[in-house]
């Protein structure tokens, strides 16, 4: 049976995003894109579990992925990934220590994934790919730093403003308790802020 998924179209999307970070010769770009394979998940599937040691770089084609961890008996949502973004098990890959966060789908989700070791091997062979990898890691880290900065120095209300500006589409798509957790506030405070705005 033919798949309903057009993998080349999905890889094309990765190409467009990666090209804004680094220009690659066609041959290397294609070698890179060909590492990505299709994975399809129903809602509420765990893509990355705690203590994952076999790693991949994921590109979210469609759906939503929530990243959370448990602390003091509570789930803390650290990020919500939307389509056309990358995610990976950064904690393990960058510290060498077991990760404790979950990556779980919030709706039926399609991803492309590339084996991390294969990516490393390709980076070893190709300077251009290594360059692109560095730029992507820098970008990923810069986003982490910005959200850390927002958490430290913005008020709850300012964080909500940023969220509304940059991630408005999420507001009607996911339960408010996850957004509240992501913003570091209670669901009640979030409701209050939302009614104030309208």
């Amino acid at each position: 049976m033919r798949s309903a998924h057009n993998i080349s179209e999905y890889r094309e999307r990765i190409r467009r995003i990666v090209q804004s970070v680094a220009v690659l010769p066609d041959e290397q770009m294609n070698e890179f894109l060909n590492l990505f394979q299709l994975e399809v998940y129903p809602k509420n599937s765990i893509i990355i579990t705690p203590k994952t040691t076999k790693n991949k770089l994921y590109f979210l084609v469609s759906g939503l992925v929530r990243i959370y961890y448990e602390a003091e008996g509570k789930e803390i949502t650290s990020d919500i990934k939307e389509e056309n973004s990358f995610f990976l098990n950064g904690y393990y890959l960058y510290t060498g220590l077991p990760n404790f966060d979950y990556h779980v789908t919030m709706s039926p989700t399609v991803v492309l994934s590339a084996d991390y070791d294969a990516l490393e091997a390709l980076s070893d062979r190709s300077h251009e790919i290594e360059h692109m990898g560095r730029k992507l890691v820098e970008l990923h880290y810069a986003n982490f730093l910005i959200s850390n900065y927002n958490q430290l120095f913005l008020s709850a209300e300012e964080r909500f403003d940023v969220f509304q500006r940059e991630r408005a589409s999420l507001l009607n798509k996911i339960p408010l308790k996850y957004i509240a957790s992501y913003l570091g506030i209670t669901p009640e405070t979030l409701s209050r802020m939302r009614s104030k705005k309208t």
Partner: protein
Amino acid sequence: MKKGFKDIENYRANLNRYLSKIGQNVNPEEMDELVKHFIPHRFSKKEMILAAGEFSNTAYFVAEGLVRIYYVKEGKEITNWFIKENMVFAPTYSILTGGANYSNYEALEDTIVLQIQYSVLESFYSKYHKMEHMGRKLIEAYYGAFMKKTFDVLFLSAEERYSLFIRDNADLLNRVPLRYIASYLGITQETLSRLRAKF
């Protein structure tokens, strides 16, 4: 000749050793070439190396001395890191986002750093494949250390954080005012004193 940096060759050898551990496949001549582009600077005890609100594109290697990194929130200083000799630091927020850096970098002792513009580092990355790899590993290590620190506060008890700290930094107990260590560990000075007595 650079006056006052009599140990400059020694510092560069230490920097070379540090970077070679991360960039294991970098060719030694290329590494020597890079290390020569780091420029020594001296800061006196209590001097500010870089202040919050400033923009910076510089990466640093501490050749001698000790640096405290902290930010101020609601009038309180929160200490994030201590960087001692043979360690690196960089205002990555400013370098990577282009925004004003929000931390203060203060010399806690008379300190000598070797410093380099990030753009110069990047020109080496472009020139040498293995150095670009090293550059990625440096960012990943920085990123990992930041994540680990964030999660240690959540998942480890004050006692566990303290025992990790003294395992790796026993010398700092005598080099750093205790209030800074307490702030770094996210505990009160009283709790720190209690833990010190216990261990």
